[in-house]
């Protein structure tokens, strides 16, 4: 059935035997937890085996030596009896001892090879040779062939060609040792099984959590950026990992949202002037007219193209700054010199606009900076201040700002630079209408042009560029109310001495 086969191909792990499932790639046997537990169990088994084995061997040895000592002392006793009373006393003593039920085993063969006394049926084959000692098997009197028992003993010659065998039954000791060994082995087996079972359980639990994380990341890769890795709440290292991953995902989602907003803004900022350019050309063609009209239309088109280029360049600069590549160009510079030069460049322009440029610049402040970028940021801020924070005439012409406030303060652009504990504080302030509180944060965002700036010349990306420059320098920008007007405050980290 091809259909069924295809089905099982798709799910190679499920629907098969547990061992296959265990050993399949990606199965439990492949998890690190499982391997770790197997290794741990093996080591545990080895150590336990070694300890118990030694104990076992020592006990057995002790018991055997105890048996041998008993036998030796008995032999000693019997020898003395023989010496005192000859064979007769020895035979009587052996018969007496044999009558007592116990582990003692005796056999005395006469010079003719017959049994003279003892509780053994015959001379054990294992001890037939004179003077040997060792283990032997015997059958207790009145028992069947199968009931052969193990014993230890010695055979010695007694003067007069008697052979005396003294032994002790060690069958009980042996079977006890055998039982102990079996119990021990079963124990070891159980420990191994439990270890394996525990390993399976633990790694399945872990595997399930990791599978959850894998599934979540697959979903996220498929495009669902809102997805998050599950956190079990146990607070263990896996949870910490999951939380870190989630923080990273949140950051990525934020960046992606930023990127989407950025491309929307770029599209808007570039499409509008392109459209204007096209409309102008089309209008000129439709209207016809003479050389003068065409010339005017073409000049207008070039202006539009230049405008478009400026916007494009500003966008590109911001994008490059955000990428951070320019960070390599930062050098140790005196910020006051940069600010003074920039102020000097713009002072005539500010005055031309009917405003006053006021500068308050302190003593040397060393920072890690790029002169071009910092100057461009200051230039943007002063240009903005001229454009929006104009004097009474400009303010009225644009229909913004209350006449009383602008007239009272008489149009002034203020540039200050001072050192605070850890930072160089640069401010550029104007007395214009300012930026409404709700727009301030947005105005600093990448590629954002406030609506009010779209109707005026320039790329309108000045503040975005300033923010990007400051971010590149590791500083921060704040837009504040200058009561009236806008005050832009830039904090740049001081160069470490």
């Amino acid at each position: 059935m091809p259909a069924d086969e295809a089905g099982s191909e798709a799910r190679p792990v499920e629907g098969r035997g547990p061992l296959v499932r265990l050993l399949a790639p990606g199965g439990l046997a492949g998890t690190s937890t499982f391997r770790w537990l197997i290794g741990y169990s093996l080591v545990f088994l080895l150590i336990t085996g070694a300890i118990v084995g030694t104990l076992f061997w020592r006990t057995n040895d002790l018991l055997t030596r105890h048996v041998l000592a008993t036998i030796a002392s008995e032999v000693q006793g019997l020898r003395e009896q023989f010496r005192a009373g000859g064979a007769t006393l020895l035979v009587r003593s052996l018969a007496e001892r044999s009558r007592v039920a116990g582990p003692g085993l005796y056999y005395l063969s006469s010079p003719f090879g017959e049994k003279a006394a003892g509780n053994l049926d015959g001379l054990p084959i294992e001890l037939a040779a004179n003077g040997t000692s060792g283990l032997f098997h015997y059958r207790p009197p009145g028992s069947g062939e199968s009931a052969s028992r193990l014993a230890a003993g010695v055979s010695i010659e007694i003067p007069g060609k008697y052979i005396l065998v003294v032994g002790r039954d060690i069958e009980d000791q042996r079977s006890f040792a055998e039982d102990a060994r079996r119990t021990f082995l079963i124990g070891l087996g159980l420990i191994g099984l439990l270890g394996l079972g525990g390993g399976v359980l633990a790694s399945r639990r872990l595997l399930r959590r990791i599978d959850g994380m894998s599934a979540a990341s697959r979903l996220i890769m498929a495009g669902d950026l809102t997805g998050r890795v599950p956190v079990s709440g146990a607070g263990d290292e896996l949870d910490r990992l999951a939380s870190s991953l989630n923080l990273m995902l949140a950051r990525i989602e934020e960046l992606m949202a930023g990127l989407r907003e950025v491309s929307d803004n770029i599209a808007h900022d570039l499409k509008t002037p392109i459209n204007r350019l096209r409309n102008r050309a089309e209008q000129a063609l439709r209207d016809g007219g003479g050389v003068v009209e065409y010339r005017a239309a073409l000049e207008g088109s070039i202006e539009e193209a230049d405008d478009l280029m400026r916007t494009f360049n500003a966008l590109l600069s911001i994008a490059r700054l955000e990428a951070g590549a320019a960070r390599d160009n930062l050098g140790l510079l005196d910020l006051t010199g940069i600010v003074r030069d920039a102020a000097e460049l713009y002072e005539p322009l500010v005055e031309e606009a009917g405003l006053r440029l006021e500068t308050r610049i302190g003593d040397t402040i060393m920072v890690q900076a790029d002169r071009q970028l910092i100057t461009q940021a200051i230039a943007n801020l002063i240009e903005n201040a001229i454009k929006y924070g104009g004097g009474p005439d400009i303010g009225r012409a644009a229909g913004v700002g209350s006449p009383s406030s602008t007239q009272a303060t008489g149009g002034k652009v203020t540039v200050t630079l001072r050192r605070e504990s850890e930072a160089a504080i640069l401010t550029v302030a104007d007395r214009g209408p300012g930026i409404p509180l709700e727009d301030r944060e947005r105005a600093l965002k990448r590629f954002v042009r406030l609506e009010s700036s779209r109707t005026r010349p320039g790329s309108g990306l000045g503040l975005s560029l300033v923010a990007a420059v400051v971010r590149l320098h590791g500083g921060s920008v704040r837009l504040e109310d200058n009561g009236p007007g806008l005050r832009v405050t830039i904090a740049l980290p001081l160069a470490s001495p």
Partner: protein
Amino acid sequence: MRVLVIEDDNDTAHFLRKALRESGHAADVASDGAMGLEMARAGSYGVLVIDRMLPHRDGLSVIEVLRTAGDRTPVLILSALGDVDDRVKGLKAGGDDYLTKPFAYSELLARIEALARRNEPQERATVYVVGDLSLDRLSHKVSRGGEAIVLQPREFRLLEYLMKHAGQVVTRTMLLEHVWDYHFDPQTNVIDVHVSRLRGKIDKGFAEPLLHTVRGAGYMLRQGPG
């Protein structure tokens, strides 16, 4: 003057050839780096205009080969890459000036002419003289018609640059680059205000103006009708 344009974009190359010819210069065009290098070695050109990115041989490598061979022909690099970094790389490779695309033709022409007249004896003089205006580069004294003119340091450098390039068109960007050492595009007429202040000091009260505005291009300091 003969100008060699090494540029792989056909439209740009032909626009430049046509425009340069209309401005009174002879212009040849090479469409790739290898061909450009060959032509630059064979002919004698006043200025080379070299695009940064070219097929077969990169623009910077063309310049390096020429410089290694001892060719000192002034080179203007054209590039779509406008970073300060790219600029520095271009000048390090042996370029003399760097212009970012897109550019206004007037800007390109002004720079080509400035490059062509580089190292003329007049440029190295210690005293620049245009008409009755003179500027002493050592004592920093400026006078017109025998009357001393007091200039701010920056105004002095502005006038020095304009006089150094007397009779040539100088663009706003060139002024910003050479007088202020800024390499960005200001969105306002910040340079114009400085020039008009300078004009107020050197031309005001004199019958013949020396500092002229060239519409759509920049400024020119010259005596008499251009």
